[in-house]
Assembly symmetry: C2
DNA sequence: ATTGTATTTAGATATTTATCTAAATATCAT
DNA sequence: ATGATATTTAGATAAATATCTAAATACAAT
């Protein structure tokens, strides 16, 4: 299930940009960090929140930590939004009441 | 276009619950507030952020302010998430490079 | 016009968050 | 083992956020 951590993670523009970058494929932390004007420590903080939300996965490769997108969680998040669009299931339909 | 304000708005559980409540149909501020254990002033703050994000619309009806969902903006937000799932358009395809 | 009801605004406070610098950890190369 | 590179962790700080109480605004009813 999708939880609070996912929406929190998506609320920050830096983190959304990280996700966009990872669309193109996996990438080591340092390479991702090069896209941003902040310190690697700050980026590491963002990585940590994305991992908490399970929006990204990591794999160590030598000295680097390679990040990649976890698409299923984002699909779920999009699904939750879509869900908000449909009227809720009713116990007794309006039609039924009018019959 | 979908902006930061939408993601900020969606980041809070109270506000997502407000949206869920409004799925069933428009509702005056006070009635919405009754669903939550916080003051009406606090709820009003949340309404304000949802309005800023254009996720809800308002209409005055006598002494009440009736809130309703703006579905198009949420559709757009869901669309943005979906977008993050597809690989970006490439300048030259991998296939082309290998030919 | 006064009173009551519905909602928002203002101001205060506690918590959370994004960012930094400096230090710690892990791996690789020599 | 020593030194270099990559990343994270710790601790500090400034800014943002959620919440409250009290006051202000808007409308309705008498």
């Amino acid at each position: 299930m999708i939880g609070q951590s996912v929406f929190k993670a998506l609320a920050d523009p830096t983190r959304r940009e990280i996700l966009r970058i990872l669309r193109a494929g996996s990438m080591p932390a340092g390479d991702i960090a090069d896209h941003f004007p902040m310190t690697k420590a700050s980026l590491s903080h963002h990585f940590s929140l994305l991992k908490q939300a399970d929006l990204v996965r990591t794999e160590r490769r030598g000295q680097q930590i390679v990040y990649s997108l976890n698409t299923t969680v984002m699909q779920d998040a999009a699904g939750v939004l879509m869900e908000l669009l449909n009227p809720p299931a009713t116990e007794v339909t309006d039609d039924a009441k009018n019959r």
